[in-house]
Amino acid sequence: EAAVTQSPRNKVTVTGGNVTLSCRQTNSHNYMYWYRQDTGHGLRLIHYSYGAGNLQIGDVPDGYKATRTTQEDFFLLLELASPSQTSLYFCASSEDSAEQFFGPGTRLTVL
């Protein structure tokens, strides 16, 4: 059973659109993370959380909001999507900040 799942797996939206990416983990981990992956930049941390209701900013947070509603669920919100946010997004979870377990990714295209 996949321990970190993401939905949708693919999403196309237009500039200015509103997008929510969802992540659920069944690892009972406290930490959850959102990364984006782009050619030439590798994986970069957007936001992370260490528990329900907690939110911390990462290295590239501009243009993104996030909410952690439960221990299992972490959402990434793009309220005014821009073409620069076209990317592959990964969610991950960890017990502490050591090994992280990644989901399968969501490919987002902003036209």
Binding site: Y31, G42, Y48, D59, F90
Partner: protein, 110 residues
């Protein structure tokens, strides 16, 4: 960037050969992790090496860490076609997330 300036490196090798990939980091860290990402999948941790360890082995994998030069390496012995992937090194940053290097693309041909 936490990592030395580098482009995504690419290596093509034949099955059975050994391969070593390197990365260097700029700021102090207590842990270096190596991840593998296969096509269409998320990264998965292969090995974690701490600053008090110079070497760590796991099956066909061997990681080294040199804190004096702030560099780490990952070696795979007897590669298989299924080792084809992008390999990343990563350090834990101040934000408790990971800072990833750009990676090494390894293609193993039968």
């Amino acid at each position: 960037s936490q990592w030395g300036e580098e482009n995504l490196q690419a290596l093509s090798i034949q099955e059975g050969e050994d391969v070593t990939m390197n990365c260097s980091y700029k700021t102090y860290t207590t842990v270096v992790q190596w991840y593998r990402q296969k096509s269409g999948k998320g990264p998965a941790q292969l090995i974690l090496i701490r600053s008090n360890e110079r070497e760590k082995r796991s099956g066909r994998l061997r990681a080294t860490l040199d804190t004096s030069s702030q560099s780490s390496s990952l070696s795979i012995t007897g590669t298989l076609a299924t080792d084809t992937a992008v390999y990343f090194c990563a350090t834990r940053n101040y934000a408790q997330g990971l800072t990833f290097g750009l990676g090494t693309r390894v293609s193993v041909f039968p």
